[in-house]
């Protein structure tokens, strides 16, 4: 290992330079690759969101799911799934499912909606917007609009 002395400053500098450039390239590529890698297996224009497994819903059971930052209420009926915007058209409270009345109910001012989204009682001025919903491979998928 007497050659150590012979490793001149020049060679050392070249090594550091090469290493530095490789590190630089890696530091550049790493974010690029992770950016390009699909972060959630779906892109920015979200079409559908899963509300869970079909098997996890029994008849007349409901669930609130987040669809691009907005709550959506999903209800299973014997005829199939229905989904509506869960924001009450009266003052914007989040509606829930009234299992005994089998209606969508707003807790704030006792607004009631039927399973077509229509107002059947209380102050809401407009029906709830319906979202498309379909069961795909046992997964309940809700459309974003």
């Amino acid at each position: 290992m007497n050659d150590d002395h012979k490793i001149s400053r020049r060679t050392f500098l070249d090594w550091v330079l090469t290493g530095g450039l490789i590190a630089w390239a890696a530091a550049f590529l790493a974010p690029v690759v992770s950016y390009v890698w699909p972060s959630q297996k779906r892109g920015p224009a979200v079409q559908t969101v899963s509300a869970g497994k079909e098997a996890d819903f029994h008849d007349w059971q409901s669930k609130i799911v987040a669809v691009s930052g907005h709550p959506v209420i999903v209800v299973r009926t014997p005829q199939g799934f229905r989904a509506f915007s869960a924001i009450c058209t009266h003052l914007g409270c989040i509606v829930g499912w009234d299992a005994t009345r089998r209606q969508i109910a707003c807790p704030c001012h006792a607004g009631f909606f039927d399973l077509n989204g229509r107002v059947v009682g209380g102050p809401p001025p407009r029906p709830l917007t319906e979202h498309g919903v379909a069961v795909i491979n046992g997964e309940v998928m809700v459309k974003s609009a």
Binding site: L13, G20, A110, G122, P123, P125
Partner: protein
Amino acid sequence: MRITRFSVVWLTAAWLANSPAHAADANCVNCHIDRNAQFKDSVHAATGLTCIDCHGGDPKANDETAHATDNFHRPDSKQAIAQLCASCHSDVRKMNPFGLPTDQLDRYKTSKHGEALFGKNDQRVAGCTDCHGAHDILKVNSPQARTFAANIPATCGRCHSDENLMSRYKLPADVVAQYKTSYHAQLLFEKGDLSAPTCVTCHGNHGATPPGTAEVGQVCGKCHGRQRELFEKSPHAEASAAGAFNQCVSCHGNHAIQKASVDLFASACVQCHANDPGQLARRDELVSVIKTAKVAYAKADERLHDATVRGLATDDEQILLQEAKTDITQLEALQHLLQPGELKLPAEHAQQTVAMIMGDIDHLEHIESWKRRALWPIWTFLGVMAVIFWLKRRQLE
């Protein structure tokens, strides 16, 4: 195809033009041009009624002899008008095809107007034609109709804003003016919300009677059902039953009702409880629970908006904020219970949700601060590289 349809239209028009009813009209309008001008666009003209259906007379005569029949009549009192209208409008068979009720006259007789007309023969009170018009009656959903929602305050105001007339009955003449300052009127006139209450929503139309103290809650509760339901469980419900409290009106007022806010507590409670520190303390507790929750919500709302505009990932927090808003809105209804304890649960839930939102944003900002800390190693690396470039250059020289 086109020819057929055209022929049908043409034949129908020809038949209508030759029908006897219209022949009768043609003779009446020779003199009554102005009446016909009023009548021709009315709902009754549209359903095919003619002058003689109400007035009788000889449809064939072309001069004053037309009036010289036994069945000719011109109603000379408001009772007679009411009976004339009722001859069709109380006939279930005639009204069925139009889906119209047939109890208007019965209802009218129960109203203050009807009682005075039929009981005291007071011709100054409102009869059918005062509100509906006579020849120019329009459907209630026609914007020109006197009975159209947005025209109701003016229609009622024709008498109820007349000080001379109202003073005879010892009634105030400023109720319509008061109504026009109300939140309900603002909804009706400014937002064009035809579901907003007008005079008839609370007082009734044909059976117009001011709701009594006992009925106020029912009347308001037609729209504000949740608030009424909660009020029924409040200590004031008992006081109302005993006649010591006028349900909704005692705090909210009636004709000039304003959009309620938590500030109403400051002016309303002292009307009765000015010398009752116990009740005032209870009020302060209510107000503080609501205000604290609202202030927390407003802070979270503002901070979340800022974070979203900056481009932080806040989808989940948006839904949390919606949840907090649901709690706050529930508080506004629940305050009608007047029991601070009942507000605790949604208020605490709102506070917890707000705390979660704040925590999430803290977390996001913490991550942002790590980005800033990462600048140190980046600059160090770049500095080292720069030195190496520089050394290498020196070496080459």
